[in-house]
């Protein structure tokens, strides 16, 4: 029973999107399995570093989205707690605005990263 569980675990490690909806660092690398069916990312040359960097940028994007959601919720709570005081409502409003603007900047770069990385994967 235990070896079966272990092999299931090994298969799960080959999943490239598994960790808390974050992509893994070897997302854009080709993978192979070794004798014990572990997932092994294959690094062939020095230019494969950029594939790892692309995956890290991908992870950063998810982090940016999560942080933006957190700040919008946080500013919403601030807005509720402001009780109509102009200083506090202005602060909460600018926090929401900044969170949205930051998210838009990151997402516009997101459209670029998949394009750049995808083009880079296509060319050997």
């Amino acid at each position: 029973m235990f070896p079966t569980m272990l092999s299931h675990f090994a298969e799960a490690t080959c999943n490239k999107e598994s960790f808390f909806a974050f992509p893994t660092w070897y997302k854009y690398l080709p993978t192979s399995t070794d004798a014990r069916s572990n997932c092994v990312p294959v690094i062939k040359g020095i230019t494969d570093i950029w594939l790892i960097v692309a995956a890290i940028v991908d992870i950063l994007l998810r982090v940016a989205a999560l942080v933006a959601v957190f700040f919008i919720v946080y500013a919403g709570v601030q807005f509720i707690m402001a009780q109509g005081e102009p200083d506090k409502t202005a602060k909460a409003r600018s926090t929401i605005l900044d969170a949205v603007v930051g998210l838009v900047i990151a997402v516009m770069a997101a459209a670029l990263v998949s394009f750049v990385a995808g083009r880079f994967v296509a060319v050997p």
Binding site: I43, V67, S94, V101, I105, L112
Partner: protein
Amino acid sequence: MYSQKYKLKFLIVTTLAFVGLLTAVALVSHSSQSALASTQCGKGATVVHTSIDLGCRGEDNAGSDVNPILDMLYAFTRFLTAGVGIVIVGSVVVGGLQYTTAQGEPQKQAAARGRVISALGALVLFLFTFALLQWLIPGGLF
């Protein structure tokens, strides 16, 4: 804006991370050397064997043979060129993160805006440099 100490710390951490990544790549590539495409730079009598695939081709794009040093320089330039887009996008994403966490403070907003504008300026600079090199080098870089 940031203190000198912070800058030094950032520089050291970045350098260590890059060296570590290079070492990891070298080790992994070395253990599976049979799968490598090309582990030699230059051609003929002056050929240099490397433990990792640096992307050397043994000739320039005009088709003539090059010596190992020039071959490595070409390979290094191709390597950096391949990474420009990814690094710039990463910089813009970090700028977006900074803007998200600015909370309406003008100083932090300015820092985030500066990072994004610098990244886009770097893209423009790279495009002009690329055009210049493509025109200057016989056969082009690619």
